[in-house]
Structure formats: structure tokens, C-alpha cells
């Protein structure tokens, strides 16, 4: 992003940046339920939405707020909800519906410590796997994990664009520390924000199939009221939209909604690679931990250890190709994450021959410090 004039730049907490990113992306419907540490997203949306003829509603529970945003999106509005661990667990039911019926929506999970009520006011990164596999069954999902307040703003816009274009729920996954961190954010002019909208089916014809798609594997969406009178269901359905148990049609449907993510990998995947080219070692970190890692790799380089960082911005699907090409020839990888070891299981799948993989984990409700990462890098390098 180019340097900004001061007037465009405001100091915002991460949760407000998320709300403003959503508004900039064209979100006009928000349904939510209060939960620490995400409530500021709802509070800011309740201020902003009436100003843009949108709808804000605080629902009776997390399940209802997820249902309401899917309902609003089926009606044609871009919609979002925000929550944290316990609420994210409750969202999973209707999130699966959105994945299966292909209804665009954005779900923000401001991570706190768990399990259960856990640590409501402390950060964690322990929902890595829940974000990917929280709802039952094989399902497509996109998870984005920013590491700064400006990036929360920009990536929330991108989350909507991906969700609308691919008809897939997109999860914004960041932790309490980022949600409450205040940083300067340059707010984009509406003219410079790239906005993507869902494809609408235009003409109802007698043989119209609402879930048939072209090579992009994304069916055009049907707007109620436009004369299609079609059926939407969470049951496994044929291209007609009606339920089916025919093995061939079941397979065709499920394979398509999974494949559409792969087909659009370029649109979805985003990562940051720092000082990787000449590195012997890589640190893999995301979100708030990546900020500590950034300092740690500098300090390690000062000590003569050639180390770089791979930061997935799109966490799921994991940017496999990019990671595999960067990790090739490395002697060791350190995976730093504020959980007991979740992302590391994905990294281990791509371990090159002769490369050791170590985890640095913290589960006490505190962020991982640069010193901890530096120590782990030194251990990894010294072991050889």
C-alpha cells in the first residue's frame, strides 16, 4: 500500500478495523451475539450499518446469528457475524449449511483460550483445526489469519470478495491481542477498494439448474423474487437443487464444492515469505506470533543464523505449493503457535527429506515473545 495522507489514517483497534473493512467490502447485514473478545466488531457494526442503509441485529444466541446472516445472504445481502471460541463452536451448525448450500458469508473468530469458557480475555491460537474442521462432514472453507490491524482491514475486504465469488463461507481468524491492539490504519477510498460480487443468475428458463456450474465450479446464485422459484437445502442435492441420494450425483456435488477451492487457489492463497532464499532454517508463524517471529529472525541473523519466516495469511487451504518450494533444502523448521501443536501437524505433512521440524508452543494465555522464538531458533540451529 502506498504511503497515506494523515487524514486517511486513523488509529483503530483490530475489531473496529474488521468492522470498517466489512462495510468497505459492501457488507450490509450483521447479526451477532455478545462475546469477549469480539464484541467490539458488533458494537462498531451497530454504529456503521444504519449509516449505509444496512441492518444490524443482535440475535438471541450464536446459532441464531449464524442462521440470520445465512438467511440475509440468501436474500442477497453481504453478511457477517463475529464471535470467539464458545460462540464459534455454536456457529458450526449453520456454518456447515452455508458451506453445503453455498451461501456466501464471513465469520470472524477472535480467538481466546479454551477449551470451554477458557480464558475469555486472553489470546490464543488454538482454533486452527476448529476453523478448518469445526463443522461436520467434508466441506469447503477458507480461513484468513492477518497479523496486524491494517491487515485485518484489508483482509476482511478480501474475505468478502472470496466468499462472494466462490459462494463459500470465509473465516477471519485472529486472536484477542490483535482484536484489541490499536494501530494506524489507512482507510481506503471507496473508489480504490476492489469489490467482487457474487454472480447472479439472470434469466429463469424452464430447464434452469440452480446448482449447475461452468468450469469455475461456482453456480450462479438465484435471487428470490427474480422468478426462479428454486429450492435451497442443506441436504445433499443434485444440480436441480433438490435432495438426492444417487451415489453418482452425491459424489458429483460433494466433489464440485471441494474442488472449487482448489480451482481458485490463486485467488484464495496468500502468504508472506521473509528472508527465505538463503535461509537454512524457517520459522512458520501466523497472526500475533508472526510479529514476534519477525523480530526474532532479525536477531538470529545478527547472531549469524540464516533463518527466514513463512507466514500463511490464508491459513486454510494452507498455501502448500508456496511452502513446499520455500522449505525445499532447509535444514529445519520451527513452528511457533499459541496452542499445543496444531499447525505443526500440517507442516509435518510437507517435511522435506533431512529437514527437522520443531514446535514452539505456548498455552498459558500469554503471547509468544521474540526471545522465546530466538532461543528456539538457536536450539534448532545448535543441535546440528
Amino acid at each position: 500500500m502506498p504511503d497515506s495522507a494523515p487524514s486517511d489514517t486513523v488509529n483503530l483497534p483490530g475489531n473496529h478495523a474488521c468492522a470498517l473493512g466489512a462495510i468497505a467490502a459492501g457488507c450490509r447485514f450483521y447479526a451477532g451475539y455478545p462475546i469477549t473478545p469480539s464484541s467490539e466488531v458488533a458494537e462498531r457494526m451497530s454504529v456503521e450499518l444504519p449509516r449505509v442503509d444496512g441492518v444490524f441485529i443482535q440475535m438471541e444466541d450464536e446459532i441464531a446469528s449464524m442462521g440470520a446472516i445465512v438467511g440475509a445472504s440468501m436474500g442477497g445481502m453481504k453478511a457477517m457475524t463475529a464471535t470467539s471460541g464458545p460462540g464459534f463452536s455454536l456457529k458450526q451448525e449453520n456454518l456447515g449449511y452455508a458451506a453445503g448450500a453455498e451461501v456466501p458469508c464471513v465469520i470472524v473468530n477472535v480467538m481466546r483460550g479454551g477449551p470451554s469458557t477458557g480464558l475469555p480475555t486472553r489470546p490464543a491460537q488454538a482454533d486452527v483445526m476448529q476453523a478448518r474442521w469445526g463443522t461436520h462432514g467434508d466441506h469447503p472453507i477458507v480461513v484468513i489469519t492477518p497479523d496486524s490491524v491494517p491487515e485485518i482491514y484489508r483482509e476482511t475486504i478480501r474475505a468478502f470478495n472470496i466468499s462472494e465469488q466462490l459462494r463459500v463461507p470465509v473465516i477471519m481468524l485472529y486472536d484477542e491481542a490483535l482484536g484489541h491492539l490499536i494501530e494506524p490504519v489507512r482507510l481506503s477510498d471507496s473508489a480504490e477498494v476492489e469489490i467482487a460480487n457474487r454472480k447472479w443468475a439472470s434469466q429463469p428458463t424452464p430447464d434452469f439448474l440452480p446448482y449447475a456450474s461452468g468450469d469455475d465450479l461456482v453456480p450462479e446464485m438465484v435471487r428470490p423474487g427474480d422468478g426462479f422459484r428454486s429450492h435451497t437445502t442443506g441436504l445433499t442435492h443434485a444440480e436441480s437443487g433438490f435432495p438426492t441420494q444417487e451415489p453418482e450425483l452425491v459424489d458429483q456435488y460433494l466433489q464440485r464444492i471441494l474442488d472449487k477451492i482448489d480451482v481458485h487457489a490463486e485467488l484464495i492463497e496468500r502468504y508472506e515469505a521473509i528472508a527465505c532464499d538463503d535461509a537454512d532454517y524457517l520459522v512458520v508463524a501466523f497472526g500475533i506470533t508472526a510479529r514476534a517471529a519477525r523480530r526474532a529472525i532479525k536477531q538470529a541473523r545478527d547472531k549469524g543464523i540464516r533463518v527466514g519466516m513463512f507466514r500463511p495469511i490464508t491459513l486454510w487451504p494452507f498455501p502448500v505449493k508456496a511452502f513446499e518450494s520455500l522449505v525445499a533444502g532447509k535444514r529445519g523448521v520451527l513452528v511457533a503457535e499459541m496452542n499445543a501443536g496444531q499447525l505443526i501437524t500440517e507442516i509435518e505433512r510437507y517435511r522435506p527429506e533431512g529437514c527437522s521440524i520443531e514446535g514452539l508452543n505456548r498455552i498459558d494465555g500469554e503471547t509468544i515473545t521474540p526471545r522465546q522464538i530466538l532461543n528456539s531458533i538457536q536450539e534448532l540451529a545448535g543441535r546440528e
Binding site: F29, A31, P50, R51, D53, V55, I57, M59, E60, D61, I63, A64, S65, M66, G67, A68, I69, V70, G71, A72, S73, M74, G75, G76, M77, A79, E93, N94, Y97, P224, G225, D226, G227, F228, R229, S230, H231, T232, T233, G234, L235, F242, P243
Partner: protein, 280 residues
Amino acid sequence: MSEPQKQFNIHDYLREYMFPHFLCPGCGHGIALRALLWAIDELDIDRDRLAFVSGIGCSGRLGAYIDANTFHVTHGRPLAFATGLKLARPDLEVIVITGDGDCLAIGGNHLIHACRRNLNITCMMLNNEVYGMTGGQVSPTTSSERYTTTTPYGNHEPVFDACALAEAAGASMVGRELTLQTPGLKDVLKAGLAHDGFSFIEVMSDCTEVFGRKNELGNSAEMVLTQKASVRPDFLVDAVDQPFRPHQIKTGVLAKKDRPEYAASWRNYVETMKRERDHA
């Protein structure tokens, strides 16, 4: 001079390519669907503007047979989805089709808050006293002593009065009718559809297959006649209790009050807020 009334033809409203339907012989749900479509026909609502949201269970499957915008959502959540849909699209006529388990058990919280908010949604709850699709388990409306697959020694839990619940929670229109009284049911549903606010209509349906048979309630005709004996129709609602039994269930339009419709309230709020800001 008024046009001669066009005859209601249910076939105009059905996706007949979805037939044969999956309801069991003797099930009352099809009659309820007929009454609902009849009411829609009499109100002459444009089918492209009709949006049906249904949950899970036998009731939830009815939507697929209606030639309109139909959304078959998750168990207990049709009112939550419908809330989002109606707020996003007030131009749509949003109708929820739900059952006693869907609406009162897993979806109970959504029901009471939908009643409180008073969005212009018509909620038709088909009460067959049982979880039919899963094989006949006890529900919040299963009568006392009844046998189900999960009350093998008879039901000992108290029963929900869905209409009393809806009215207490603030529903601005509440009604109840039997499938046996199809024209009466049509009229109650019509009143609900015409009402500008949240309407809750309980249809006393019957499940012959997995409920009636287990309780030796006879065939469908016998079941509905038993139902008929247990109700006090609306023209007798104010009659003295004798010779009517006090426990008789009331039918017809049971409550109707004027309360602000929520989608309109929200838009007023937005407009007022914008006006105040412009003047500031």
C-alpha cells in the same frame, strides 16, 4: 362488479415433478399444506415473492413441493434464517413451516424471540405430537401417558401449550386449527398471512404411522375425530364451561394485537437517525 372468484387449484402451486410425495398414508401434513396454499391463493400473493423457510422433520420437507422460493434449513433454525431473510428482503412474503420438535424443542429459543421481535413472518407449526421422521420419539407436545419409542412406559413429562407460549412471548397474532376443519384452517392461516406482524399458527396434525398405531388411536379418520372431540372451536370460546370440559383446547384466532412490525421499525430508526445526522 367484482370478477367471478377463480377456483383454487392446488396443482397451480405444486412442483408436481417432485411427486410422489414422501408423507405416510393418513398424515395430516398434506391437508395443512393444502390449507396454506388455499389461503395464499385467496390472498392472491405473487408466487415469485413467496419465500418458504422450513426446518428439519416431516414438516420441513413440505417446502420442496411448493412452487415458490423454498429454503430447507437446519433443525430448529428456520425462524433464525427467516429473521435474516425478512430483514434483508422485506418485499418477500416469508412463511415458516415447522413442527412441534423443530419449533418448540430445539428451536424454542428462536420461537420466543421471533414472537418478541414481531417481524412480518407467518409461522405454521404442524403439531403431530411426535418426532415422526426419526421413528416416533416423544416431543414437547406428546400428550400425557402416550407411548413413543422413547417413552416405552408412557409419557410423564408435562406438555407445552404452543399457542399460550407464543402469545405470552408477544406474538401479535396467534391461531390454532385442526386439519379436519380445512376451510377453517385456511381462514386462520389467511388471517395470519394478512396480519402485519408475527403470526403463529398451530395446526393440529396427526401422525397415524408412528404415533397413532403405537397408541392404538385407530386410523387417520378416527384420530382426527378424536381431535375434534378435544377442541372447543372459536365460536364457543366464550361460552360457559358447562357443558364443555374446561380442558378443551381452543381453536380459531386466539389472539390478535397491534404492535409495531420490526422490519418497518428498523427502517424508521435508520431514517430518523439519518435525518438527525443531516440536521446536525
